[in-house]
């Protein structure tokens, strides 16, 4: 397991290592810095606003981060193996347009479930093509997914010639509106389940651990008998599927799909993963960290809104936070 250095220091400090403590620290391995950042951020907002720490607002934040959160899980896998996926925003748009086209009465009218399946297939295919461009054509991931970003966006626009598709069945939009047990919408639940499943996958499955080997050194992984190429293809495909799923969640939240949605989401997603402690050179990162990264971005946006800060200044603040998060991480590593 990826015992981070600070986590193991922590254990060394407390001497004994209780089993549950070990499991908890494994879940948030390498994320102490971002976690402290998140806690401080929440404290500051609790003190400066009287609306931040309310159930209603916290639920709002959760709703707002579902799209980012789901995409960031896929991006974590890609960044873990030393790759990058710039196409997730466009794939999100393409998948949601495919769903709208297949499901909506004005077009194929095959129903939402068929639309969802079609959307996920198309999104997975986009990811697989990116993966094959990386593993077979040997394009750098940056270029391969930059190409896919353009292609998917173009395809998304072609479906309706650039116009949006509005109006889905109530049951579908309710997925993001109705809060079961008083707090949990289906979409938020989906994000949480996915995060847990992928955290377990990365921590406890051989295939998940193999991704750390690939990111650490693809050649070492290959010589160790790990099927680097096929895992790489799978990772990009899964990243695509998750981007597609995020597109469906967005469609449910907005009750519409448009080809221009998801613009710039790839950068938010990468930012969340990186704030969560992942290294762009691969081999370092975790779902726990990414979750914290997503929460930091979500809470920051929400808090700045509550404080009435203009969206332009918000962009500046988020940029500063990215630089700060990665810089402190780099300093900390160097200090060891």
């Amino acid at each position: 397991m990826a015992v981070s250095n600070d986590a193991s220091d922590l254990k060394a400090g407390t001497g004994a290592q209780p089993a549950t403590g070990a499991k908890l620290s494994a879940l948030f391995a390498g994320t102490m810095g971002p976690l402290i950042g998140l806690v401080l951020l929440c404290l500051a907002l609790t003190l400066t606003t009287d609306t931040f720490l309310t159930v209603r607002n916290i639920l709002n934040v959760l709703d707002q981060i579902t799209v980012l959160g789901i995409m960031a899980i896929g991006m974590t896998l890609v960044i873990l193996i030393g790759g990058i996926d710039l196409s997730v925003g466009s794939v999100l748009a393409l998948a949601s347009m495919v769903m709208g086209f297949v499901a909506h009465p004005d077009f194929l009218n095959l129903g939402v479930p068929a639309g969802v399946v079609a959307a996920l297939l198309v999104a997975g295919l986009c990811g697989l093509v990116s993966g094959l461009l990386v593993t077979v054509t040997k394009l750098p991931p940056f270029i391969a997914t930059l190409a896919m970003m353009s292609v998917a966006r173009g395809l998304a626009n072609m479906i309706t010639d650039g116009s949006q598709i509005v109006g889905f069945p109530d049951w579908f939009t309710n997925l993001s509106i109705i809060r079961h047990f008083g707090f949990l919408s289906v979409t938020v639940g989906l994000m949480i389940v996915l995060a847990i499943v992928f955290a377990i996958f990365l921590n406890y499955r051989a295939t998940g651990r193999s991704l750390y080997a690939i990111g650490g050194s693809a050649e070492v992984a290959r010589l160790s008998g790990i099927p680097v190429k096929s895992l790489t293809n799978w990772v990009y495909a899964i990243c695509g599927v998750l981007a597609g799923l995020a597109g469906i969640v967005l469609a449910a939240r907005l009750d519409s799909v448009q080809p221009s949605s998801g613009l710039g989401y790839e950068l938010d997603t990468i930012a969340a993963v990186v704030i969560g402690g992942a290294s762009l050179s691969g081999g370092v990162g975790s779902i726990g960290g990414t979750t914290i990264g997503v929460l930091i971005i979500g809470v920051l946006r929400n808090g700045l809104n509550l404080l009435g800060v203009s969206p332009f200044i918000q962009q500046v603040v988020i940029g500063v936070v990215i630089a700060l998060a990665v810089a402190t991480d780099t300093w900390r590593r160097r200090a060891q």
């Binding site: 051989a206 050194s217 010589l223 008998g225 790990i226 099927p227």
Partner: protein, 502 residues
């Protein structure tokens, strides 16, 4: 041994190093180091990794500052603030990892940072002509306009030397210059050093290859644990003496006693060829318990051959059988499954993931064992790692990052990764490259144990002594062709080199 130069009267115009000290935190890496380099001589600086050779060289070359001590160079106090100041003073260093810009031309590399200008533009004609002249002086016939990337390592090194010469260096520090060179290339380098020496240049020569020292050095300085432990006025001292001074104890035996091989043939290689013809039509077999050494010059195709057998590179024709069964060389995974494992040549780039723990690194090749149903539990990894660590005697804990280990221990981690399977054929490519002399003996013991446990072992090494000391038989490659297989009794330095250079 000569007396301490501080008590030595006769001043000369060379380099005097006086009582240099350097500490990093509580660790003293250099303590009271003093020696001299006279004009026109080659001083060999010997010592294990971490003995302080690099620290001394870096101080002289201006990239590290000493805590105490002084240097006199050409009769004047000398304390370079940075490498540029050292170069200005005529002191250059050729690093082990060459510091060239691979996509620029040879001439651009020689003149980088001081490109000749005319009318605000780079004067390429002058630059190329001057660079060409320097290269000719070194006996190197390459176009100055060629990209450095396209040159062989040896030629790239010559470019570095040419660069130092155009900077009017009077003292050149070589850090392991022959680590990546073959026999002929080494000889060429030595010729150049002798020629430049005759012109009055001085050299500090760092190398792990002790056999070279007698050939090239005039005097020898031996370091251990940051101190200078011996100064020899001559270079033709017995290797054993030097090794003992380097490791600080008497070296009983470098090589373990070999047990006789078994009778079962475990590895059979038949007419194996690579697509690029880096090796061609190679056939041999290795028995259970036998160690086959593969010798040859750099570029003879040794690494390519063993990588192909381990499934790491494709082959164009031929076959490999393991314990009588043909194996399909589709990739490393297939070879590992068939019982063929490789400890690759470049430990840090191919052998271990440096930033990850020993436990992780051991698990990476063994998920079939550590995670039988695909579930990896930290406890299982820990247990597996502890077994490997104790079996190989690795100085480390399962949750320690591999980057924190010494080279010898890193190598043991890579061996530990495979040893538990257990494999039928164990291939080690340059198992002691960059590893301290003292730690090498431990690796040799491990290799002998692998054979004793019944595996067929193949060892590739550029260190001839190592091949001769370890192997039951020695296969010699030259330019991709198999020149012969020598029995241990007939395998001598001379016999192997004759075949290797044929």
């Amino acid at each position: 041994m000569s007396p301490d130069p501080r008590q030595n009267g006769s001043p000369h115009n060379g380099l005097f190093v006086n009582g240099l000290c350097k500490s990093y935190g509580p660790v003293q890496v250099l303590a009271d180091a003093s020696f001299e380099v006279r004009p026109g001589e080659v001083v060999a600086l010997l010592g294990e990794n971490g003995a302080g050779k690099s620290t001394v060289s870096n101080i002289i070359a201006g990239s590290t500052k000493p805590d105490a001590g002084s240097i006199t160079w050409r009769g004047k106090p000398y304390s370079p603030a940075n490498p540029a100041a050292a170069i200005e003073a005529g002191v250059g260093m050729i690093h082990q990892e060459l510091k060239l810009l691979p996509d620029l031309s040879v001439a651009e590399n020689v003149y980088v940072g001081r490109l000749p200008m005319r009318g605000g533009r780079i004067d390429r004609a002058t630059m190329n002509a001057k660079a060409s002249a320097q290269l000719k002086r070194l006996g190197l016939d390459v176009s100055p306009e060629r990209k450095v990337r396209t040159l062989r390592i040896a030629a790239q090194q010559q470019v570095e030397i040419a660069k130092a010469l155009t900077l009017n260096a009077e003292l050149l520090i070589f850090d392991e210059p022959t680590a990546a060179l073959g026999g002929e290339e080494t000889e060429l380098l030595f010729q150049q050093i002798r020629k430049l020496k005759a012109e009055g240049m001085s050299f500090i020569y760092i190398s792990h290859r002790l056999d070279e020292i007698a050939q090239i050095a005039d005097r020898v300085v031996v370091m251990r644990d940051g101190r200078i432990v011996a100064r020899h006025e001559r270079a033709d001292i017995p290797v054993r003496t030097v090794v003992e001074q380097m490791v600080g104890r008497s070296v009983e035996r470098m090589f373990p006693k070999l047990s006789p091989p078994g009778t079962d043939t475990l590895l059979e290689v038949e007419n194996l060829s690579s697509p690029e013809k880096s090796f061609n039509n190679v056939s041999f077999s290795v028995k259970s318990g036998e160690i086959l050494g593969i010798a040859g010059l750099i570029g003879a195709g040794r690494t390519e051959l063993v990588r192909a057998i381990a499934g790491a590179d494709p082959i164009s024709s031929g076959s490999v059988r393991v314990a009588g069964k043909p194996i399909h060389l589709s990739g490393p995974a297939a070879a590992i499954k068939a019982g063929v494992v490789l400890v690759p040549e470049d430990r840090k780039a191919q052998g271990v993931v440096l930033d990850q723990t020993i436990g992780e690194n051991l698990a990476f090749g063994n998920f079939d064992h550590v995670a039988p149903k695909g579930w990896v539990f930290p406890k299982a990894v820990q247990k597996f790692a502890e077994a490997g660590i104790s079996r190989l005697g690795v100085k480390g804990r399962p949750n320690q990052a591999v980057s924190k280990l010494s080279g010898g221990n890193q190598q043991k981690v890579i061996i530990a990764k495979w040893v538990s399977r257990p494999p039928k054929v164990f291939i080690l490519d340059e198992p002691t490259r960059g590893i301290d002399v003292g730690a090498r003996a431990a690796i040799y013991d491990v290799i002998a144990d692998l054979a004793r446990s019944g595996m067929a072992v193949v060892v590739v090494s550029s260190d001839l002594e190592e091949v001769l000391g370890l192997a039951h038989r020695v296969l010699v490659l030259s330019r991709g062709r198999q020149r012969g297989i020598l029995e241990r009794s007939e395998a001598s330095n001379v016999a192997v080199m004759e075949l290797a250079t044929s």
